[in-house]
């Protein structure tokens, strides 16, 4: 556990695409520094390139403050393959679940701020 870091877990559910961009930017708006953001992708079925861009952008904003990190947790097959294709595995740590990530970080559940974004079902 990093001393003084804020831990934020953002759960993303459904298909996160361009139409969710505004809401995605809102849940990824992290002002605390340093901050460890865990993106919970257990219920994410699809991420388009605009969502991937938002993750990249978040990492670029956080990376200047030591102890900050963006971590992926619980990605399913589809999302895991997407990450493989776009080379995210080279730069982002990935865990099987949020619990595993927290265990790794040695952080208590209670110390984590929870946020969530439920995508509207595709029309």
């Amino acid at each position: 556990m990093s001393e003084g870091a804020s831990y934020i877990c953002v759960a993303l559910a459904g298909e996160i695409d361009l139409y969710e961009r505004e809401r995605l930017d809102a849940v990824l708006d992290v002002t605390e520094r340093p901050a460890v953001v865990i993106l919970d992708l257990a219920r994410t079925s699809y991420l388009d390139s605009s969502a991937l861009g938002a993750f990249v952008s978040l990492r670029e904003r956080l990376i200047d403050s030591a102890g900050s990190e963006v971590i992926f947790a619980g990605a399913g097959k589809q999302v895991a393959r997407l990450f493989e294709i776009c080379g995210f595995d080279q730069v982002f740590a990935r865990f099987d679940s949020v619990d595993a990530a927290l265990q790794h970080l040695r952080v208590d559940q209670g110390d984590v701020e929870r946020r969530r974004l439920e995508s509207n079902p595709p029309s």
């Binding site: 388009d48 390139s49 605009s50 990249v56 670029e60 589809q78 393959r81 080379g87 995210f88 595995d89």
Partner: protein, 838 residues
């Protein structure tokens, strides 16, 4: 009337037997006759009020339980033995008969109690004769078989001259026809059982009305217990009974009113039927509609034998200016109460003669018209009618009817309010649908299609859009019909000339005035003068009856019209023009956005077209093919690119990539990245260097971008080989003639990230007769299932009709994206032919 103290005292005084009259108020005040005073014993306290008490086994009974108390409670006390307390304090056994005396409203006001002193051996029949002659009640005796054998004089007042006809079984002729069957059955069964009888019968009174009459009877048995005679009484309880029915009715209207949620017609029907239960033979609701017309609900009682047509004739709906009773209740809020409708009334108040005839035919006896008042104004009238043999409405009936009318008014206001609320909610929902539809579309065509889909078929049978062309005439831009076949017929007119833009009629006029307009009905003759003949013919085939035309307001000018069409026989609601006015205003910003977006898209597309290579390299032993397909989803016009060019040393540089985002700025970034790769290639054709240059270009770009790219350099000698780097881009796939597929994987992170790129270049041989396919994510993500998308691409590449195709890029695209793609797709294929030049 029957409880006037003086009158009752007179009756009692006239009786030879000991008798008293007791009044309920003041409490149990009694008047006694001379015979009673003698029986009770010496009067030592002349002038002091008499006290009459009964006892049982030497003890005083509570006043409520003694014969006086029971008679005052409304019970007939027939020849029961009781112990009368004498002045001396002793008790004397007497036979007692008690008769309650009722007020007009059926409540008991007094009781007459007649006694027979058993110690004086007076003939009991004589007592009865005295009693029956003088009591105000209707009394009768019947033989053991239940046949009436004597009646008292009161029946003459009630039935009239014909009272003697009651004797034997004649009484059945005076019972209401609806009741007679069960009354006779009830009475004869009771006679057989020999139990005390109580029932309510409707007797035909001398004035021709049926009055509810309560009949009680008790068997008079001899020493052996055999029935010698029936002794019975009748009491007119009509007013009481009707008061109860009114209460029931009020309770029922209360429940109906409270439960009224949905529908005015249903509510009126329920109330009208409830009124028939006890209150009237015909009930009529006239309700002023919001548009000034009058809605009417008439219900005739199944008991009355009038046909609905007769009733309708008698009570034609009030027209404005008429002064008949219903109109006055409806418009002026006056109550009309005519207890006795007679010929004079009909002559004076009912016109015309046909209506008078209907009143006579139905035999209308009594009528009340009450206004339905709410917030001080009348929204309708409730008319209740009693016909034929029914009793007239009295004042209390009238008050009940006024109350019912008032409650109905409140209920109807509630229902109307809810209807308005529902209509509002429906409008709001319409706007919400529209908002969602408009928010999700950026192109003008999409915007208009979304608007039409939100309207059809709920608010219009079908719809079409006209847009002004460059010459200022209207052309059909889009149509929408819910029915696929009709939609197909209408769609054949899309793009066709519709009407002259300068016409002063129809859609052009609406566009100029910028105000929605309802054309109802469509004037086809007028339309012929300015609308295309072919289109009019189609409209006739479609059975177009009416239309609302809405102007489409863009950012600076009117763009055209949205035309909502209704099949003949179906009509727009009155509020629809307002709704579409609102709609036109809400659509205006969406149309303006769409205009802006279309301009930007045009520029971005031009930019992208310019950025893509004009020609692919022509190199011996290689064949290059490429396809760029813009996505269907306009929002995703993006920054995909492919590139291939030859260097001076003969090597070939290929690149493919994707800038996420849409529109002009994505296209600009794409162009910058592609130029950076080209520039670096000319200085140092090392994939790693080229990618780093691209990374710098992305990082210098102001916006945060997600950019993926694949760059490769192909050496042709001695055998073709590609050295490459990937930045988060889908791996190209190599198909070789032996039927194997190889992914050119090399998963560096996307461009723009500050990350170490220490990865070495990778290499892959491209044997002669192979096909290398480079593509963007649009090819594998169109179904939003990456694994599935990759599998499809692999399957297609293994298919000889793809890997052997003249233009493999196009074939690969068509084979994988059968239904087209939402996203942009770029594909670059490199085929190595057998022959290489040394």
């Amino acid at each position: 009337m029957l409880t006037q103290p003086a009158e009752l005292a007179q009756i009692v005084d006239a009786l030879p037997a000991p008798a008293i009259v007791a009044f309920l108020s003041p409490r149990r005040k009694v008047h006694v006759n001379a015979a009673f005073s003698r029986l009770q014993g010496g009067d030592g306290h002349a002038g002091s009020p008499p006290i009459v008490r009964f006892g049982e086994r030497g003890r005083l009974l509570p006043p409520g339980d003694d014969p006086i108390g029971r008679a005052l409670a409304g019970l007939e006390v027939a020849t029961a033995q009781a112990q009368l307390q004498l002045r001396s304090g002793e008790f004397r056994t007497v036979v007692v008969s008690g008769t309650p005396c009722r007020n007009d409203d059926g409540t008991v006001g007094a009781a007459i109690v007649v006694m027979h002193d058993l110690q004086h051996d007076i003939d009991a029949a004589g007592v009865l004769r005295d009693l029956t002659a003088h009591t105000p009640a209707l009394l009768f005796t019947a033989d053991p078989a239940g046949r009436i054998d004597s009646i008292n004089a009161r029946w003459n007042e009630f039935i009239g001259e014909a009272a003697d006809e009651l004797l034997g079984t004649g009484w059945t002729r005076f019972i209401h026809p609806d009741d007679v069957a069960h009354v006779v059955d009830d009475w004869s069964k009771n006679v057989q059982r020999g139990e005390p009888y109580k029932g309510q019968w409707r007797f035909l009174r001398s004035d021709g009305t049926y009055r509810w009459t309560e009949i009680r009877a008790e068997a008079w048995r001899d020493g052996d217990g055999a029935i010698r005679r029936w002794f019975g009484s009748g009491t007119d309880v009509d007013a009481q009974r009707r008061a109860l029915e009114s209460l029931d009715f009020l309770a029922e209207t209360g429940a109906t009113v409270a439960g009224a949620q949905e529908d005015v017609a249903l509510l009126l029907d329920r109330l009208a039927h409830a009124a028939l239960e006890g209150l009237a033979d015909i009930s009529i609701f006239d309700l002023k509609e919001e548009d000034g017309s009058v809605r009417r609900q008439i219900v005739g009682s199944p008991r009355s034998r009038q046909s609905a047509i007769d009733i309708a004739k008698a009570f034609e709906a009030p027209r404005s200016g008429e002064r008949h009773p219903i109109a006055r209740a409806l418009h002026d809020g006056e109550t009309l109460h005519v207890p006795y409708v007679d010929e004079a009334f009909i002559q004076a108040h009912i016109a015309p003669p046909t209506r008078q005839a209907a009143w006579r035919f139905i035999d209308i006896r009594s009528i009340v018209c009450a206004p339905m008042l709410t917030s001080g104004r009348s929204i309708g009238a409730l008319t209740l009618v009693r016909a034929g043999t029914s009793v007239p409405f009295d004042t209390s009936d009238m008050r009940v009817i006024q109350e019912v009318a008032r409650r109905a008014a409140v209920a109807i206001e509630n229902v109307r309010f809810k209807e308005r609320e529902r209509r509002e909610a429906r409008n709001l929902r319409g706007f919400a649908d529209m908002g969602a539809a408009l928010g999700g579309s950026l192109g003008l065509r999409d915007t208009l299609d979304a608007a039409m889909r939100a309207i059809v078929p709920e608010r219009a049978s079908w719809a079409y859009v006209n847009l002004f062309d460059e010459r200022g005439d209207l052309r059909v831009a889009s149509v929408y019909h819910d029915d696929a076949e009709k939609n197909r017929i209408l769609a054949s007119h899309v793009g066709a000339y519709y009407a002259r833009g300068d016409s002063t009629l129809g859609s052009p006029a609406v566009a100029r005035s910028r105000t929605p307009f309802l054309f109802d009905p469509i004037d086809y003759d007028a339309a012929r003068s300015f609308v295309s003949h072919e289109i009019l013919e189609t409209f006739l085939t479609m059975n177009l009856g009416s239309a609302i035309v809405v102007p489409l307001l863009g950012a600076t000018a009117v763009r055209g019209t949205l035309n909502l069409c209704m099949d003949a026989g179906r009509s727009f609601a009155a509020a629809d023009v307002d709704f579409f006015q609102e709609l036109a205003q809400r659509m205006a910003p969406a149309i303006a956005n769409a205009e802006l977006f279309e301009r930007e898209r045009l520029v971005a597309r031009s930019f992208q077209d310019a950025a893509l290579p004009a020609a692919l390299p022509r190199v011996p032993g290689f064949a290059f093919h490429a396809i760029y397909e813009a996505g269907k989803a306009e929002a995703l016009v993006g920054g995909d690119w492919y590139d291939a060019f030859s260097l001076a040393d003969g090597r070939i540089v290929v690149s493919i990539g994707d800038v996420a985002g849409s529109g002009l700025s994505a296209a600009v970034t794409m162009s910058g990245v592609r130029q950076a790769i080209r520039g670096a290639a000319h200085v140092d054709p090392d994939p790693r260097v080229m990618l780093e240059a691209a990374n710098q270009a992305v990082r210098e770009d102001a916006g945060q971008r997600f950019v993926t790219a694949f760059v490769g350099v192909i050496d042709r000698h001695p055998l073709p080989v590609i050295r490459y780097q990937s930045a988060g881009h889908p791996a190209p796939i190599l198909w070789t003639a032996d039927g194997t597929l190889t992914q050119l994987s090399g998963h560096g992170p996307p461009l723009g990230l500050r990350a170490e790129r220490t990865q070495e270049n990778r290499e892959c041989a491209i044997p002669p007769g192979s096909l290398l396919a480079l593509f963007t994510d649009g090819l594998i993500e169109s179904t939003r299932n990456v694994l599935d998308g990759e599998a499809k691409v692999c399957a297609a590449l293994l298919d000889p009709s793809v890997n052997g195709a003249e233009d493999p890029a196009k074939r690969l695209h068509d084979a994988v994206l059968v239904d087209g793609s939402r996203d942009d797709v770029a594909i670059l294929t490199i085929r190595t032919t057998g022959g290489t030049t040394p």
